[in-house]
């Protein structure tokens, strides 16, 4: 028997996988059954009854088991008594479904009348008006006259704050429980619940602070009415007034697809401004979701503090100048400098990186190029054994395995956390190796806590165990056995508690695990297998690919001569051995890498804001934000994705690639580029992994399930259908040829004596961009230090501690918990850093 079931819906015969719900089956052939409570990503509950249809099954003779036939030879169908909810009903062989009979039409009218008994019908002031399935359905099937006496309607609170980000209008709520179920089933933050019963059934938040979840915004997308609204958007615009622009989130390495909604407003002189950001469907990346950081960190774009004009230092003061003057001065200064170096942030586009390296390598003949803060190594290893093209974490489940080492995905790459957790819930084995327990630990099948200094050693031991048959008794043995025998194996690695060098060894060790042959075949090179680096920024991958590296050219070709890395640049600036530094989208002084500009003869900064570095610069170029221009990012799964301009540039700002190429033209790096797509075309020639890609192919889409984004009656939520491109993953080397095991250096342990401090990531950690978000301000991470009870004899939960290491001195609130191991302390809420450092603690007296 096949796993397909054949049924007929409104005369259309179709075959769908066993277990499919009737409403979903109908949607797959374009028949919209209206739903409120059902959402294709949630377990059905059959609550709203909107999806009632006629469902019949072929009759069988009780005695013989033979199908019973009508006189004309067609099978006799038993439609039972009454209608059935198609969201809960599972398809059956020979099933016959009618969605267009009088009984069905009648019941829709009936249910809509019930829905409106207590509904306020304040559509004219409702954020959902215009994209509201209730409104749409009432237009289709509703009775246009109300039989309810207005004064009898139940009144309720209309402005309930469920926390800082989300507001609830209790009158509009139709009790579909989508929000609760999303939080329970998808987000695993069980912070919403129903309170009371009957018509008094109401949504409440159970957490303190209210609605404490990184996922809260998604509930407003899937709420089928205007009951849930986000703090940034509510009452801000009507859906039909806004223009959608496809974009990619620039906040982490997942690369969620999003849609920026803009509207022209008087306050910005008639120019479009960002009103809200919604998810854009990409089932292989973010499905229908965004984390709240991605959704709400856009205020900086419209900040009045944006740089709007080129500036030069004249008589000690920074003054606005023309582009030509600034570009000419920069060109002259760089050419005259005795030595030059380029430092880039990790949120620039591929086009920007490509032009930066061209400016330096071709124009200035310098290989002194690096990113500001190299936290994770192994980009070259990833190029060999990275997760294969065409992979989709959503396909991992029973029989597969995922390994996550030295990363807190919930804080560093929320969507990956979500998808890894869901894979584990579907039955995939999940092995977590870290120095403390994280939000992922509770979903893990194997939790291997290891002292930070021992993480790499632990992984190497695991790999050697995986190479031989062991008795599989120890915890490590068991994990090794699970991983190596899995059908598909994906390994994530990060930098928590690890030095840069350790992350490099880790990447190699994990590569070697993936390269072990089982039945003559390694895991790498196949779809849904391979390595995923949890890069600290949105386009760290692109920086690697484009050769923003002192030793690697685009395509991972070794440079003839190794240039200065960031550490050498900072030292050179301090001691005068570096003459000119060019900084793009980074703030080395603000981040503490440089104390000041030191002895630099020339400092040029290309930026959105007047950062601490920019203040001391000689020349400043105002750059456009990601929302003002187009470009591509490459995510941690090596998916190259296009984003599009949504609003007009701030002032005279220009895209980074353009500034770099106009400067390049002045120093002999070739004619200036004029169009982003052409920059991309030239970069595909240099970065051969990108060969064959162009803006058109990156903009291509395929049909996706579930179908969302229309004003259809089968309501998947506000998430936009993807019409602007699903992106393309570039193929790792292992997909076309065999890769050999990596040579490992002798293990180095960074373990020192004393209480070791790990400086771990928090999603909402202060930074130049997120600091401008009014909505997220109250949610910014508190600075905490988690210590094991054994080490905390002198401290209690809630104490204020002064924490000193050789690199930070901060006040933190003590959290005493055995989530961390004895001998380590975890600092959160300040910018995460590599490695460990010996910490000295003292209690601050009240």
């Amino acid at each position: 028997m096949s796993d397909l079931v054949t049924l007929t819906i409104d005369g259309t015969e179709l075959s769908v996988p066993k277990g499919t719900r009737v409403a979903d089956a109908a949607k797959s052939v374009g028949i919209d059954i209206p739903v409120f409570c059902h959402h294709p990503k949630l377990e059905p509950v059959g609550a709203c009854r909107m999806c009632l249809v006629e469902i019949g099954m072929p009759m069988r003779d009780r005695a013989t088991g033979e199908p019973m036939l009508n006189e004309d030879g067609s099978p006799k169908i038993n439609f039972g008594r009454g209608l059935q909810t198609s969201c809960t009903a599972v398809v059956g062989e020979g099933m016959v479904v009618h969605t267009d009979t009088e009984a069905v039409t009648d019941v829709r009218g009936t249910l809509l009348e019930f829905q409106l008994v207590n509904h306020p019908l304040d559509c004219p002031i409702c954020d959902k008006g215009g994209e509201c399935p209730l409104q749409n359905l009432v237009m289709d099937h509703g009775k246009m006259e109300s039989r309810v006496y207005f004064e009898d309607k139940r009144r309720s609170d209309k402005h309930v704050s469920l926390g800082d980000l989300i507001f609830l209008d209790r009158e509009r709520c139709i009790q579909c429980a989508r929000c609760i179920r999303f939080q329970d089933e998808v987000a695993d933050d069980r912070v919403l619940q129903f309170h009371n019963r009957g018509v008094n059934l109401e949504i409440v938040t159970m957490s303190d602070p209210g609605f404490d979840s990184y996922w809260s915004g998604n509930t407003t997308d899937i709420c089928p009415v205007g009951a849930l609204t986000t703090a940034d958007f509510r009452f801000g615009a009507r859906p039909w007034e806004m223009t959608p622009s496809a974009s990619i989130c620039s906040q982490c390495a997942v690369g969620c697809n999003m849609t920026v909604n803009t509207r022209r407003e008087a306050r910005s002189g008639g120019k479009p401004v960002i009103k809200r950001i919604l998810p854009r469907q990409n089932e292989a990346v973010n499905e229908l979701w965004l984390c709240d950081k991605g959704r709400f960190t856009h205020d900086y774009v419209a900040s009045p503090e944006r740089l709007t004009s080129p500036m030069m230092r004249k008589d000690g003061e920074l003054v606005a100048v023309s582009w030509d003057e600034a570009l000419n001065a920069a060109a002259e200064g760089l050419q005259a400098a005795s030595s030059v170096a380029g430092l880039a942030g990790q949120r620039l586009s591929n086009e920007d990186y490509f032009m930066l390296q061209k400016l330096f390598r071709k124009g200035l003949k310098s290989g002194n190029l690096d990113v500001n803060n190299r936290q994770i190594g192994g980009g070259d290893v990833v190029a060999q054994v990275g997760i294969a093209a065409g992979s989709d974490l959503q396909q991992l489940g029973k029989g597969d395995a995922i390994l996550v080492v030295a990363s807190d995905l919930h804080e560093e790459a929320p969507l990956w956390w979500l998808r890894v957790k869901q894979a584990a819930d579907r039955g995939a084995a999940l092995v977590v190796i870290n120095g403390r327990s994280t939000r992922l630990s509770s979903h893990a099948t194997h939790n291997l806590q290891a002292d930070s200094g021992d993480i790499v050693a632990t992984v190497r031991q695991l790999v050697s165990m995986a190479k031989v048959e062991t008795d599989g008794t120890g915890a490590l043995d068991a994990a090794a056995e699970t991983l190596i025998t899995a059908n598909n194996l994906v390994a994530f690695y990060g930098y928590e508690g690890l030095s840069y060098e350790e992350t490099e060894s880790l990447a190699k060790a994990l590569a070697n695990l993936l390269l072990i042959q089982m039945d003559g075949e390694p895991h790498v090179g196949r779809m849904n297998n391979g390595l995923i680096p949890v890069w600290p920024y949105a386009n760290t991958q692109g920086a690697w690919d484009m050769g923003i590296h002192p030793a690697l050219l685009p395509s991972y070709k070794a440079a003839k001569m190794t240039g200065m890395d960031a550490v050498a640049m900072f030292a050179g600036a301090a001691d005068g051995s570096l003459d000119a530094l060019y900084v793009v989208g980074a703030d080395p002084i603000g981040d503490g890498w440089m104390a000041d500009r030191g002895k630099l003869g020339l400092l040029i900064v290309q930026e959105l804001f007047m950062t601490k570095t920019a203040v001391t610069a000689d020349i400043i170029f105002p750059a456009q934000s990601w929302a003002e221009r187009d470009g591509t990012f490459t995510n941690g799964e090596r998916r190259v994705q296009r984003y599009y301009p949504a609003i007009r540039p701030a002032g005279d700002s220009r895209p980074d690639w353009q500034i770099l190429s106009q400067l390049g033209e002045r120093v002999g790096a070739g004619k200036a580029e004029t169009v982003t797509s052409l920059v991309f075309r030239s970069l595909t020639k240099a970065a051969r992994q990108y060969k064959g890609m162009d803006y058109r192919s990156l903009g291509q889409v395929e049909a996706q399930w579930p179908v969302v984004g229309g004003d259809d009656r089968y309501y998947g939520g506000n998430a936009f259908a993807n019409t602007a491109g699903l992106g393309k993953q570039w193929a790792a080397v292992a997909e076309s040829k065999a890769v050999k095991q990596f040579e490992m250096d002798d293990a180095v342990s960074s373990r020192e004596d004393g209480l070791l401090l790990i400086n771990a990531a928090s999603l909402y950690t202060a930074g130049t961009l997120i600091d401008k978000s009014a909505v997220l301000a109250p949610r910014m991470a508190k600075i905490t230090l988690t210590i094991n009870p054994v080490d905390a004899t002198a401290y209690e939960d809630g104490d204020t501690l002064m924490v000193r290491t050789d690199r930070v001195t901060v006040q933190a609130t003590a959290v005493v918990s055995d989530d961390v191991m004895v001998g380590t302390a975890v600092l959160r809420g300040v910018k995460a850093m590599n490695g460990t450092a010996v910490a000295r603690l003292s209690k601050i007296k009240e």
Binding site: L83, L111, F114, V117, Q175, G198
Partner: protein
Amino acid sequence: MGHILLRHRDEGLENLHQLDVYRANGGYDALKKVLDEYSKDEVITIIRDSNLRGRGGAGFPAGLKWGFIPKVDGDKYVVINTDESETGTFKDRELVERNPHQVIEGALIAAYAIGAKQIYNYFRGEFMSAAFNFEEALQECYAAGLIGENIMGSDFSCDFSCHYGAGAYICGEETALLNSLQGDLGQPWSKPPFPAVEGLYSKPTVVNNTETLANVPPIIMNGADWYKSMGTERSAGIKIVCLSGHINKPGNYEVEMGTSYRDILFDEKYGGGIPNGKKFKALLPSGGSGPVIVDDALDAPMTYEGLTEHGSVMGSASLIVMDETVDMVWAAMKMIHFFRHESCGKCTPCREGVFWMKIVIDRIYNGIGTEKDIKTLESVANQIQGNTLCALGEFAINPALATIRHFPEEYRAKIK
């Protein structure tokens, strides 16, 4: 003949709730017999052959239900439904208070038959004192080796604990009960999955009414044929009837199935007639949830099917009697208020529809309604029918529809 269920009412058995008294009078012999003599399947067969049907109202055959439990290893549960929240129902309370061991024994036999190692009794929260009695009985059983490890020296082990609801009628519905029991919101779920397949904590679960289980020990002792010899072909055995309202002798009665409603109301053995020489007007045969019947239906036999042609049901046999003084619009309004208060709110037709019925009947009762409102009331009830997630919504329309059908003139007298 003595009682079968209300045995504590028999002479000398006033202290039947004490373990020694219960044992001295044949208590736990049925359990012993089952453990010594019967396989699990044999127990299920006996119960199936006895034609014992659910006493919680729906009348589902108990043996059939036990037979649905998958015969595989793993966690399984027996859950006793002592939520007893139906208006006019007070039979389970008497059982757990006065004859708790018979319920315990029945539940243990059920647990043995389906392979459950844990029994829960779910009490309505207001039954605190009855439940404390019951818990004392459990303690006695633990001490006597009748619950716990290796019961009566056999290899059958089973634990037993109690849970108190927080006062919701809907938590008597089996899936809402299970949600409540596992700590979730007390709302029903859409079936399938049925509890026998995925019940408590998603494990196979038998949910039985307290009275249903109390029938089990005597059936084991006396055999299926003995039980079937009472009652009618399709409604075998005996049923506890709760009599209340305008009746001379309110209370619980153990009545053979098939006895006519008229006998139950007027026979001196049972209700003994209407007080103060008043005339009978209407009977709610199944508390507020069953449609009201009038005199022409009283000769019907009390069986699961007996009232079908009169548009009503036996339900849990909680008979609320109303004499000629009762204003039927008032009565309907009271019942609708009850359902408006008890609707869990999960599904739209019941949540909104019952609320709507309530505001409309309030208008009618208060004299500000119109002919149109009577139509609306009727049509809203009809719109709810067949479209709800659980049966509560179906119950909620009966007060309106049945009173409009039998007493239209009383409605018309109230409107403007």
